[in-house]
Amino acid sequence: MLGVGALLRPKSIPTRRGTQAYECGEDPIGSAWVKFNIRFYVVAIIFIIFDVEVAAVLPVATQFKEAVLNGGAGLVFAELFLFIALLILGLIYCWVRGDLEWVKGVTLNAPKK
């Protein structure tokens, strides 16, 4: 599709205005590749832990139905409960620490005098 477009469309002559980054008609000041507070660094780490845990729970979860029908559900449930309890504990810890807040207090980010 991209190739077909290249054959069909008229050739464009780039202009200075046309090749500028779009900032509502203003001339951009500096590069957009600046150091930037990405904010969700801790959230990303929590995400990885959660996702790995979910991936680890999946095999246990697939065995649960069979265990319920054929006995031995207690063990599987205990295992499942352990996983989930760990996750809940971790979540509470992060919550109390304030890692889940997107706005992390104005005073911390204010420029020092």
């Binding site: 008229p10 980054a21 590069s31 969700f40 989930i84 979540l91 807040e101």
Partner: protein, 383 residues
Amino acid sequence: MPANSALFAQSLTQWTQGTWFASVPIWVWALVSALLVIYMLALPFGGIATYVERKIAADIQDRIGPNRVGPLGIFQFAADAIKMISKEDYVPPGGDRFLFNIAPVLVVVGSCAGFVALPLAQYLVAGDINIGVFYIMAITTIIAPGILLGSWASENKWSLLGGLRSAAQIVSYEIPVALSILPVILISGSLQMGEIVKQQGWQSGHFWNVFHNPFTLIAFFILFVGGLAETNRIPFDLPEAESELVSGFNTEFSGMRFGLYALGEFVDVFVMCALVTTLFLGGWQLPFVELDKFMITLPSGLIALIQVGFFLGKTFVMVFVVMWLRWTLPRLRVDQLMGLCWKGMVPIALFNILGTAIWMWAFKGQSMLQVALGLFSGGGSSH
């Protein structure tokens, strides 16, 4: 299911033996089928979805909507496609050319690859992988790097802001989505899409997973809302947020590259709705009909058609709800968005899993309906 698909493959190889089909290497077939998926399923769906969305938007806002191109404006999407193809293929000179080029492709690949594991009908699955659910969860995540790379490569502040928001959002909402899929796996004891749908039939007394127990009902809504956020739809379309960020991550994208982003989004919406349908709404299962009795009386081709019809019907109802929500709800703020995910949906989803597990344990895997029926008949017989 595996036996059936193996049989099918065997008959296919027998049928093609000695003809020129057999001499074609397998990767050509893979390529052809991939092109078929993209051109026969994804593209028409994406195109028609843009048209339908504009019509729905018009109806909700009491406007007429597209009405010039063809009857009722139905060829609007074709005109849009031609326009997008003939537009200037602009790459920002300050940006990263390579990343800029591959980013939209990643989005489309991520969403189209999800099609593979979707069971359209009982014997109509491209690949009924035994880890189907996990596969879809994994492959649709490719969209996040696609958006993030595109936004970074644009060298535009709006794009960067949108892309970073998108990364935080998709990454966060992946968790409630995955956690609300777990109850379904607990119930069905399988990661295979076909198997999960099969168990939601009426004849096994199960009915759809939404109505299996109170916790799956909640899980259904969490999955749906999480899916909305994963696909960047309103009220979670912060990466685009045209009132704050111009157009978010796709500000610098023009022509067909922008088109690929839009296509990827719509296809992703479809895959997400199809996933919800498969896991919770019984996929191709007909409500209140015992499939096995049905199968004997009707030709199998007709059965497959009916099943595809029901599957697509349910999915399109979900897609319609997604579009309806878009024109009904205002956008969330970033901190509200993250708060809703981590402080609302994740804890609820975690307790859902435990709830479903306890329910399964207590009632020997029976659904609400079966338990109620059991109580009813038990109470009746004791008198």
